[in-house]
Symmetry: C2
Subunit: 345 residues, 2 copies
């Protein structure tokens, strides 16, 4: 099997049990409209990449390949069973809360092929659904039955992660108004907005299962590395993948004037980035304009720079996994890292 096939199989194998756990821990109860809205995006699909990552770390650390139910009483590294599934649900619920609120802020209409929550319901309900998921995520993280000192550390990780995601979103909004953003600032924003949640997904099972400090740190670093690589690859794919494959206009970041690691590198190397696509009307932009813009970015070495950066991050992330026992789950965590930069959309 290819990397992609192995990753897809690993996700597929765990999706049903993650979905069932989400339904269990977020039942639709009174007030129904609130809980329906809270579940709407979660029920609309999603790869469940972050919860799967969390479960794979738990499997790798304990050298286990569990069947469905045993995620609820996972053998820890000492004697006490831990409900790692509840932690996995917590991470997915945080992801869902941030998407709901981000879609309001960005006034995006669609998410996962269905209307955004504030479109399907209304802005008030969407704010409140996000707020409900926020505290529910903490409730889930408090339901792992891990020893209290580990629970506290996992909650600290969760709380600081949420604060950082908000900071990342604030930087992202701020950067739209600025034309002097540096690559370092951009990478900091990506780390906060995107990578810290991968880091939490990788580090928290290690905390809950009682892994040593160096292992927790290594897994946290793995999450940061692959989260950054994921976003950089997204920036590259926007330029290099045909619109039909992307499912959206190729070069949309250029058209919207969005700054990415590619455009920031190009600007630093003398390219008139704002002049690459002279209009902000997507309908008026031809494929030839995009081709031409991409050719200029390639000539400046900006696309290769971004690809190299993503490759380096993936290599760094994979190296950190060497602290884990050598088993199938660890191999899948390496595959996920590779997949994030090998994917074509």
């Amino acid at each position: 099997m290819s990397t992609e096939e192995r990753v897809r199989a690993a996700l597929e194998e765990r999706r049903a049990v993650v979905n069932e756990a989400i339904r269990d821990q977020l039942p639709v109860k009174r007030p129904e409209r609130l809980y329906e809205a809270s579940r709407y995006l979660l029920d609309a699909g999603g790869k469940r990449l972050r919860p799967t990552l969390l479960l794979l770390v738990a499997e790798a650390l304990t050298d286990t390949h569990p069947r469905d139910e045993s995620y609820r009483s996972f053998p820890d590294l000492g004697e006490e069973p831990v409900d790692v599934m509840s932690a996995a649900v917590s991470i997915e619920v945080i992801q869902s809360f941030t998407l709901i609120h981000d879609d309001i802020m960005d006034d995006d209409d669609l998410r996962r092929g269905v209307p955004a929550v504030h479109r399907e319901y209304d802005v008030e309900t969407a704010i409140l659904a996000g707020d409900t998921l926020y505290s529910k995520a903490f409730e889930c993280m408090l339901a792992t039955d891990a020893p209290p000192e580990r629970e506290v550390r996992a909650l600290e990780e969760l709380a600081t992660t949420c604060t950082e995601i908000c900071e990342g979103q604030a930087f992202d909004v701020d950067f739209e108004r600025r034309r002097d953003v540096t690559t370092d600032e951009y990478l900091e924003m990506v780390e906060l907005k995107t990578a810290v949640l991968y880091a939490a997904a990788a580090a928290i099972p290690a905390i809950l299962l009682g892994a040593d400090e160096a292992t927790v740190d290594a897994l946290h670093g793995y999450g940061i590395d692959i989260g950054r690589a994921f976003q950089i690859q997204d920036d590259v794919l926007d330029l290099t993948t045909p619109s039909e494959t992307l499912g959206k206009q190729r070069g949309s970041d250029l058209i919207e004037g969005k700054q990415t690691v590619v455009t920031l590198h190009a600007r630093d190397h003398g390219v008139d980035v704002d002049g690459l696509v002279a209009t902000d009307d997507p309908g008026a932009v031809t494929e030839a304009t995009i081709e031409d813009a991409v050719a200029k970015l390639e000539a400046a070495g900006s696309i290769d720079y971004a690809r190299d950066l993503a490759d380096e991050l993936v290599a760094s992330g994979k190296a950190r996994l060497e602290r884990l026992p050598d088993n199938e789950a660890r191999a899948l965590l390496c595959d996920i890292a590779d997949y994030l930069v090998e994917r074509e959309y």
Copy 2:
């Protein structure tokens, strides 16, 4: 001194140190606009009733009257000092987050005499400021240095409280669309939207300081009772206090068609509540119309019913405090209960 004077003095005595703690634990750092927006409402004032309640419970339980700094290393009931101030900040920060998001949902322009955060900044920033405060509140609750098993219980209380506040707000929104709300439903909504945060403020210091289960439960009950009494008294004051004293139009709940414990009782006793104030244009409503409406509500016994209910709740709340040592702080907790129904605005 009168009850009101004693309560005001107790609040005044602790306000400066609470304010300083808020500034310490929520410094304005990068991204500045986000943290400025997060601090905006907190800096605009507020009585600090909930954090003061929390500090008074800590003082009452440990029979201490601390000077400022010692709230940070409060003597617990065993041997370990606990930072109860950090818990007090957490509760105030949650209150602030809910107000910021509620003002967006209700599209209210003013709060504490200054523009609401989404007016002073924008809706996007206000959503994000609320989200930041949300996780910061958990970070503060994780910074008390209490033993981990107590931290975990305090966090459970905090997380379920936040979920309940969201549920209460959802019921409140739902009730605006319904004309068949029962008094029990209304009181459940008030408990969720308002009273649970008082309950958390009263119960959490007992949890953190290691009080026994019955004391924690009693304090939780005290918070629920006085929180409900507070809201019911608000409903009464809207009808009985002159506009000049209220700082807003007397009878505004009637004009807006808002259902309260008073109007629900009246409807159950044959009053045509929707006909009391026939217009929804506040400018067109005369003082005589309001006088007449209040007279009808009085004749139906609805205002006395609400007053009696609030008085009963306050008496119940005070009785629960008998589990605490008999000291000045406990007397002030009784005073706060009395003050909530004796106040005239």
